[in-house]
């Protein structure tokens, strides 16, 4: 019915509100909004910008948002505490473990017993743990320093107050640009805990709109694939809240058309959470993921 809507002189039939963060996962949404893809689908999308994940989660849980760019951990936490949320697709993000430029460390083993800045019980810690295990350490072998605010974590890393830090994009690029060394990243490990979640209520009441949203999302992914970054970087910097310095330096992830996360991915995260007693129950893939929109 998207064609009709277009003919009908931009009479929006459905509207949804989604929360985004200034991270690379949100880029397709910004593109879709700015390029008018949502509008083409007859959809009015309000993108609410958040500066921290808790704010975003609170808004989602209190019903102020229909959906949000988030991660599997947040979805599992919500589920575990009685919030009916559904993962509808994965998003493409990137998390990087970086080492201060003056440290003589070039593999994971070198971090043994050293300070690594992370945020606790988040996707950052999850990715860090994964990287440790891949490199032959256990998560307890490093000393985790909790610094939840990302810019501060960046600063601590740059100034050598910690040896290493796990940062999401685009701030990871800023760090690399200023000399920090990349040790490993989620792309490299081929893990991607970023997902898009909707409230159960939105899934029920706005399924048409959600489908339309994903059509627009896919258009944005196409756009990202064919267009060279110079053409939209300025817009991203302005609308997405990205640092000026990433221009020309950042390598965006390979955006994929909307698809559900793999069963293994979800299972891994749930196992990690459950093992650390962060959730009371272990959830099956089907309990968390709804693939009806991106089939």
């Amino acid at each position: 019915y998207s064609k009709e809507a277009m003919k009908g002189n931009n009479v929006y039939q459905e509207s949804i509100t989604i929360g985004i963060l200034p991270d690379v996962d949100s880029i397709p949404f910004i593109i879709a909004q700015e390029k008018g893809y949502f509008q083409e689908e007859g959809l009015r999308v309000t993108l609410e910008q958040f500066k921290s994940a808790v704010d975003r989660d609170s808004a989602l849980q209190s019903g102020s948002l229909d959906g949000a760019v988030s991660d599997i951990l947040a979805a599992a936490f919500a589920k575990d505490n009685g919030f009916p949320m559904v993962i509808t697709s994965m998003t493409n993000g990137s998390y990087k473990l970086l080492v201060n430029q003056n440290e003589n460390i070039d593999d994971i083993q070198g971090l043994s017993g050293r300070d690594v800045a992370i945020s606790k019980n988040t996707v950052i810690e999850y990715v860090t743990d994964k990287i440790m295990m891949e490199g032959g350490l256990t998560p307890d072998d490093i000393h985790k320093v909790i610094v939840p605010k990302i810019p501060i974590r960046l600063e601590m890393l740059q100034k050598g107050k910690v040896v290493a830090a796990t940062l999401p994009e685009p701030l990871a690029t800023v760090a690399i640009k200023e000399g920090a060394k990349l040790l490993n990243s989620s792309d490299h490990l081929d893990i991607n805990p970023g997902v898009f979640i909707f409230t159960a209520k939105a899934v029920e009441e706005k399924s048409g709109a959600i489908q339309a949203m994903y059509r627009a999302y896919n258009k944005a992914v196409e756009f990202l694939a064919k267009e060279s970054p110079e053409n939209y970087m300025d817009m991203l910097i302005e609308k997405g809240g990205f640092p000026e310095t990433v221009k020309g330096a950042i390598t965006l992830p390979q955006y994929t058309k909307a698809a559900v996360p793999s069963e293994e991915e979800v299972h891994d995260v749930i196992a990690w959470l459950y093992k650390r007693q962060l959730i009371k129950n272990s959830y099956d893939y089907e309990e968390l993921v709804n693939d009806q929109f991106v089939r």
Binding site: E48, F50, Q61, S62, G241, F242, P243, E244
Partner: protein, 250 residues
């Protein structure tokens, strides 16, 4: 004090701060602490084009927050100060709610008031109002009891007692509480303006921070601090006007 003298003072204060800041920034040599000169030149560049609109949004939220907190908080504080009963009943409630970090109530407030200006102002009020209540209550309690005697013997009603004694006598404390409320309102912007809006100094600073643009961030801080200074001076002037009996003491 004449206006001119005041201005000299404030300029003096600013200069002192600048020199201090310059010293720290020169010692640290870090982008986290940019030099005040760089910040000022950046500020001048972006002020009209980029920042002013944020400033106005914040000003209106500050006004709304402080105004409403005073409108609700003042009568409660005055009554708690004057009527033993009110104090007995309300102070446990105030003492219990006051120390709660109101930001932790964000989910609840979002649920009740949405993401818009309303919930921002509600948070602000929740944070400020208790300071206002406690300061005014304590101010009223410190009025010597003899001050009421003339009005008691005239059989004055509560309205008269409030109008003739309690409000004028606690006016200086009222202004103190206004000062504290306002400064708090300004620093609270930083938490309330980070969601559901793209305007406001809080948003501006946070946004600059997330972009690791410390120059802009500090420009925002400077503007916020100047807004604060202006409001403080306004209160000082108000005090001179309203409390002439107070100033006229030898």
């Amino acid at each position: 004090m004449t206006g001119k003298k005041k201005i000299v003072q404030y300029v003096h204060g600013m200069v002192v701060l600048f020199v201090l800041w310059y010293g720290i920034s020169a010692l640290a040599e870090l982008p986290v602490i940019p030099s005040p000169l760089a910040v000022m030149s950046n500020l001048v560049q972006i002020f009209y084009g980029k920042m002013m609109v944020h400033g106005f949004y914040s000003l209106w939220r500050i006004f709304a927050g402080v105004f409403l907190s005073t409108v609700f908080g003042m009568p409660i504080g005055l009554c708690m100060g004057y009527f033993e009963r009110w104090d007995r009943i309300l102070s446990p409630i105030v003492y219990l709610i006051y120390p709660i970090p109101k930001i932790a109530l964000l989910p609840m407030i979002m649920l009740l008031f949405g993401l818009g200006d309303l919930s921002k102002i509600v948070i602000m009020i929740l944070i400020i109002i208790f300071q206002v209540i406690v300061a005014i209550r304590d101010g009223v309690k410190s009025i010597p009891k003899e001050a009421y005697d003339p009005l008691y013997s005239l059989g004055a009603g509560y309205m008269d007692i409030f109008k003739e004694i309690i409000i004028p006598a606690s006016l200086p404390k009222l202004l103190t509480s206004l000062r504290i409320a306002m400064a708090t309102a300004i620093s609270v912007l930083f938490f309330t303006e980070t969601f559901g809006t793209q305007y406001g100094m809080g948003y501006f600073i946070m946004d600059a921070w997330m972009r690791v643009n410390y120059l802009e961030m500090y420009s925002g801080i400077v503007v916020l601090s100047i807004i604060g200074l202006a409001l403080f001076i306004a209160i000082d002037i108000l005090e001179e006007r309203l409390c002439r009996w107070h100033c006229s003491r030898r």
